[in-house]
């Protein structure tokens, strides 16, 4: 596991290009990508939407294509973040899954279409989702994390994150 831009314990000695060289060779198994917008075709947008400018595509256009499993995530689950078509395709590829603050989707490669796997609470999320997707007739609840997983998240994981993202750790875990 490696956090990009780690201030301590950086595993790379060839500068920031080493990550991409590593990925280009297929040595990275899983990568996580977010987006200002994510669409029903699995494309992400990190550049611009609704007249607003975002930072830019970073390495997404490359990583999404070369890493075997890319998991898309976006905490905000709304019609403005989950759209039919992104305004700018920063990157496209074959996602392994899409996780939001409300739901988990899998990706159907043959149909190029998401399938709803579960929701975190019992609610109808279709109204809050801008793209169309397949869904089972009975939608399961996402299993809550086990006590062991929570301990891991609130202990070692939280401390590791806090070293590089102190504001985030303060907000999520109250860590200082």
């Amino acid at each position: 596991m490696s956090l990009l831009h780690k201030r301590k314990g950086n595993p790379f000695t060839e500068g920031s290009r080493e990550l991409f060289d590593l990925a280009g060779q297929g040595r990275i198994d899983v990568f996580f990508l977010g987006g200002a917008q994510i669409d029903g075709e699995g494309s992400i947008n990190l550049v611009r939407a609704e007249g607003r400018r975002f930072p830019g595509s970073f390495g997404s256009a490359f990583m999404y294509a070369v890493v075997g499993r890319t998991i898309l995530f976006r905490e905000e689950h709304s019609r403005r973040t989950l759209v039919p078509r992104v305004e700018f395709v920063s990157a496209r590829g074959e996602p392994a899954a899409l996780l939001t603050g409300k739901a988990l989707f899998s990706w159907q490669k043959d149909k190029r279409r998401f399938r709803l796997e579960s929701t975190h609470e019992k609610e109808d999320i279709r109204e809050q989702t801008g793209f169309d997707y397949d869904a089972p007739s009975q939608i399961p609840l996402t299993p809550p994390p086990t006590a062991k997983e929570l301990d891991l998240l609130r202990g070692p994981v939280a401390r590791a994150i806090a070293a590089d993202y102190p504001d985030f750790a303060r907000r999520v875990w109250g860590l200082d």
């Binding site: 830019g56 595509s57 390495g59 490359f62 294509a65 070369v66 990157a91 590829g93």
Partner: protein
Amino acid sequence: MAERPDELAALIGDGALVAMPPDYSMPAMEVIRCLIRKKSKGLRLLGVPVLGLGADLLIGAGCVAEVESSAVSLGEAGLAPRFTDAVEKNLLKVTDATCPAIHTALQATEKGVPFMPLRGVLGSDLVGNRNDWKVAENPFSENDKILLIPAISPDIALFHARWADEAGNVWVGRRRELATIAHAAVKTFVTYEELRKGDMLEDELLAPGVVSSIYVSATAQAQRGAWPLGVADLYGIDDAHLALYARLAKTREGFQRYLDDFVFTPKKNSSPASSPA
């Protein structure tokens, strides 16, 4: 030869293509403040592969005409406010890239070849927006499209380093993207924390982190010259200052106040030399 950061800044002409590292990789912040004080114009910034505070300051101060980068942001402190504002008002030409494409373009220059191929990226709108990138068939295979990225040769590489030595070498440690920029640029200007006696290339432990004097055009000492950003093992990123900047620079007036306080007339208690490590 230069001796002070402002003398390095004086060597960077208006309109120059200046390659700069990300906030986590030792930008020469003191020279950037000098460029603002000397009212540089029309600079073209190349992010290797992304840009942050230094670029936002230069953009807000009106020193920049164009940016090529994979992103411009303040990291955890959020969006780069002056960059965002300038783009939304159509005041800045931005050429969007993706990180490995910029590394590849500089590596092509390192090798003296006109272009290099890069996997992935096809399918991104980045490709259609750039008429300098080409998609070609892999000549060694069939039905295998691949992106070709032309070499980039920046006029100037600008960064900060832990050490310089009497032989004109600088030490950047594991931040090897700085070596790539130096190899690819026509001229390389470096500020440094401390001067070491002798020649670091004579020391087997230091040599792998050295950028040889072959590539270094001029150096100048600037203690805490990366502040409010960091130098590994010496001082960390000043997160509180970045948060202050992010807050102030949301408005043009706030940004001007920031320049007045920290660039034009540095406050004593916040000057690079006296802030805590």
